[in-house]
């Protein structure tokens, strides 16, 4: 289910709708892009320029805001922390989730639907509801100020979606394939590892992308787990930078612009998976 697949355009006569369409399209472009451009261009201005006129092109162009941030360590630290946490929580959620989905889709046993229901109901528990006890649990496990303390709960909260998407996918793989593998001497776990997982690649990509984005964008958990700035993730770092340097608008804009870059690059490369995954995950 890729939303980008082209559909044969409706053959219709030119009507009054055409200009309306382009007007609305122009409006969409403006409303979407203007804030982003303001941030990116604002990073190339000085505070004096911004104070004098908030909406204007840089004149002259100043590169020091961006250079300062890129040569300081904090931006790169936040970026690495975010990457470490997002990658580990994704690997954990997709690894454990695909094992569970395999058991729940291709084994018959008592309590199977109960376990599955437990995971699906988990879809309704927002992190916020459980956050106080989760925090206490992390404190008890001495995982506060540790990236593990963010990655573990994030993986746990990503399990429901992962399993809900993977289970029907794995169940739909024809049983003849499994029979053939068994005839060829494969164990069931061997079938899972060598045949089912490779066949499930599209669904695995979808759930990985979902888990990664959720973790990468996560704010609440890092906010509560980390106090020490060297542990911050990018979202937490951006928000903190904003409140710390409230007077230095130009630096805030440059910092914000830079922190959009990873998400935008990821989007450009994985656009099909992201869009397909998000629409597919809710459309079945």
């Amino acid at each position: 289910m890729t939303a980008t697949a082209t559909v044969a355009p409706v053959r219709r006569h030119l009507s009054i709708m055409v200009p309306v369409r382009y007007l609305a399209a122009a409006l969409i472009v403006g409303v979407t892009l203007a804030p982003l451009l303001f941030v990116i261009l604002g990073g190339f201005r000085t505070n004096a320029q911004i104070n004098e006129n908030p909406v204007a092109l840089p004149s002259p162009w100043v590169f020091s805001n961006y250079v300062d941030i890129l040569t300081s360590s904090s931006f790169w630290t936040f970026l690495l922390n975010s990457a470490l946490i997002a990658v580990s929580s994704t690997v954990l959620a997709v690894g454990l989730g695909s094992m569970a989905a395999f058991a729940l889709s291709r084994y018959r046993f008592r309590g199977r639907e109960t376990i599955y229901s437990m995971f699906t109901v988990g879809l309704l528990f927002p992190l916020g509801v459980a956050i106080l006890p989760v925090y206490l649990l992390l404190r008890q496990l001495h995982l506060l100020e540790s990236w593990v303390g963010v990655a573990l709960p994030q993986a746990a909260f990503a399990l429901p979606v992962t399993i809900i998407i993977l289970r029907p996918f794995m169940a739909a793989i024809p049983s003849e394939i499994e029979d053939a593998a068994v005839v060829d001497g494969a164990t069931r776990l061997g079938f899972f590892w060598r045949i089912l997982l490779p066949l499930s690649r599209p669904a695995l990509v979808t759930v990985s992308v979902l888990a990664f984005i959720t973790s990468w964008n996560g704010y609440l958990l890092p906010l509560l787990v980390f106090n020490e700035p060297s542990h911050f993730t990018l979202p937490l770092g951006v928000a903190t930078f904003q409140s710390q340097y409230a007077q230095d608008t130009a630096s805030i804009l440059a910092f914000t612009a830079l922190s959009m870059v990873p998400a935008l690059v990821f989007f450009v490369f994985a656009e099909r998976q992201i869009v397909g995954g998000l629409t597919g995950s809710v459309k079945g």
Binding site: T32, L96, V129, L137, P168
Partner: protein
């Protein structure tokens, strides 16, 4: 969410069917092996899930019955006092109101807007692929980045004010985030900017499921474009609309990141949401018992809504939509 009817294709599984005490020896061995495999496959995820999702929820119910700072033993049992206190606190009542405002404003504004924009982008238009990418961009940004972007734009004498003055609408300039009567509308606008792309992409996917022949047949029968849209396209988008509404309402009830970064629930509680109230009480004032009660109330809101929605609106589509269809 537990309504899935599962009919896994009978396969090799049948061979290792339900083990009975009467099964011959080789079968029993395979059933032991099956149990080991199941444990290996299911235990890690179940442990992780129970530890970080399930037990915390139960713990929250327990904590909510105590007056507790999060340190030391739970001794000060107060029964349901935390709940009555929360439900009678005007700030929390206002928070519920703010969540409901976002819920309804989203349904009234974002739903028609995203359907309209999806119809627009579905039709023949130059640069359609680029437009689709562009419209989705804000959705990819994190809530934190979105909040910081708009915080900068909405500063007094910031870009929004400058733009309004530049086009002669200076009279409309407000204290966007500093005026208690305006702040919820401002936040709603920011939320719309961020999430509209998701709705559009969802409806675009839904529109691909509307057969072109139906539209053509309608137009041959003399239906106008608007009639076709209203009588044929929108009803066929039904399942997508219901899913969108479900996600939108659940998201609105849990609203936190953007509010916390932009206003901290202020000024004077005029943009507090249930979640921001919960974090404020729990982590800034160390009222863990009270905060837990608030968490449970928030959960009940989401849960009751989801059950009702499931029962009355989603019933037809659930299997294909939220839980995935196992065939």
């Amino acid at each position: 969410m537990n309504t899935t009817t599962v009919a896994v294709a009978p396969s090799a599984t049948a061979a290792a069917g339900p083990a009975r005490s009467t099964t011959p020896a080789p079968r029993r061995r395979s059933s032991t092996r099956k149990r080991l495999e199941l444990a290996l496959l299911l235990l890690p995820s179940t442990v992780l899930f129970v530890a970080f999702v399930f037990l915390p929820l139960i713990a929250a119910v327990y904590y909510s019955l105590f007056d507790w700072s999060g340190f030391g033993p739970l001794i000060d049992f107060v029964g349901l006092d935390n709940y009555t206190q929360a439900l009678t606190d005007p700030t929390f009542q206002a928070a519920i109101g703010h969540n409901l405002f976002i819920v309804f404003a989203s349904l009234i504004v974002q739903l028609p807007l995203s359907i309209a924009l999806a119809l627009l982008l579905h039709g023949r238009i130059r640069g359609r692929t680029g437009l689709r990418l562009l419209v989705f961009t804000p959705y990819v940004l994190s809530e934190a980045v979105t909040a910081v972007i708009w915080l900068s734009l909405l500063q007094p004498n910031g870009a929004v004010d400058g733009l309004l003055r530049g086009v002669g609408l200076g009279d409309f300039v407000q204290l966007w985030l500093g005026d208690g009567n305006v702040v919820m509308f401002t936040l709603f606008a920011v939320i719309t900017w961020k999430y509209i792309g998701f709705g559009i992409i969802l409806f675009l996917a839904g529109l691909q499921g509307v057969p072109e022949e139906l539209r053509e047949a309608a137009s041959i029968d003399g239906a106008s474009g608007w009639q076709t849209t209203r009588m044929i396209v929108i009803p066929l988008l039904g399942p997508t609309i219901r899913i969108w509404a479900f996600l939108s309402i659940i998201g609105s009830l849990q609203l936190f990141d953007i509010v916390w970064i932009m206003t901290l629930g202020g000024p004077a509680g005029s943009s507090t949401t249930m979640a921001s109230y919960l974090i404020d009480r729990g982590f800034r004032r160390y009222e863990f018992g009270y905060g837990s009660a608030v968490a449970i109330i928030l959960f009940v809101f989401c849960f009751v809504f989801a059950l009702f929605y499931q029962r009355f609106a989603l019933r037809r589509d659930t299997q294909g939509a939220l839980t995935g269809r196992v065939e």
